[in-house]
Symmetry: C2
Subunit: 161 residues, 2 copies
């Protein structure tokens, strides 16, 4: 069997493959879970109260991440988290986000088996990244951020537990 | 035992309960899963290609929702979805979102056991809603949207499968 005859099992069923070219993606799904959605808020205590009082959601983990200038609270939802995020200093990217856009969804984090592998897959497609190499995240994870210009205007974090 | 002595098991561990009052939230978590994150995109085919070529993610379901003026593609990630969302007409709310903000994360959808119950919990806290009652969503779900003014600037959809 010619390698050219092997159809990528993750290709979509539509017939218009004209712009897909060879090597149409990884040969298995790299995203194993929505790790968290991060919501930028002005007051972490108020946001935690709102999620508890409205939805009965409670904090499983809380951490200050000095390197990013944020304090986060993780509310568990099944195997994922809602991450409430507030700046700890004025020059934090989250402070600038709040100033520019107000409270709202800041980024989505996808859980991956291997952060370096997923980051390499992003770069292999020519997408701009924020972190050129994986680095420590909160709660002992290894993370890398992809630039929002890269994929549908979305700030994406890749999280390896 | 006096009912007043019953501590809500979903209360946080901190001691500052001064502004929590009675009935500090539902007596069980209402959010059972991140159902999906919705990403507004200009071109659904291009966005699908990007997710496949970069992450090996593929379309599990595709649907035009005439009432909302959108076409959506659902990419499965564990028990959740990435919902790529594009307008089908110029007066669609997603068309206006794209015009105003460009591509990006449009809303987060939480899966709930009972959409009416979750919507009632939102209203009971005095939060403004977009849908006053549950209505049909895509793929046979029952849904209701909460106004982004309500909870941390986030457009929230409640999804009952």
């Amino acid at each position: 069997m010619s390698p050219l005859a092997v159809r990528n099992p993750y290709d979509n069923a539509d017939d218009d493959d004209s712009h897909h070219g060879e090597g149409g993606g990884p040969d298995r799904p790299l995203l194993t879970e929505i790790d968290h959605i991060a919501i930028a808020v002005h007051d972490l205590g108020d946001a935690i109260d709102t999620y508890r009082e409205t939805f009965g959601a409670v904090v499983e983990h809380r951490e200050v991440v000095e390197s990013d200038g944020v304090e986060e609270a993780l509310l568990r939802v099944a195997e994922s988290y809602v991450q409430l995020l507030t700046p700890t200093r004025d020059d934090s990217p989250v402070a600038k986000y709040l100033e520019r856009k107000g409270e709202g969804i800041h980024h989505v984090a996808y859980r991956v088996d291997d952060c370096a592998e997923a980051l390499a897959a992003v770069k292999a497609q020519g997408h701009p990244v924020i972190d050129d190499a994986p680095r420590p995240g909160s709660r002992g994870t290894t993370v890398a951020f992809v630039h929002p210009r890269a994929i549908c205007g979305t700030l994406i974090e890749l999280v390896q537990e």
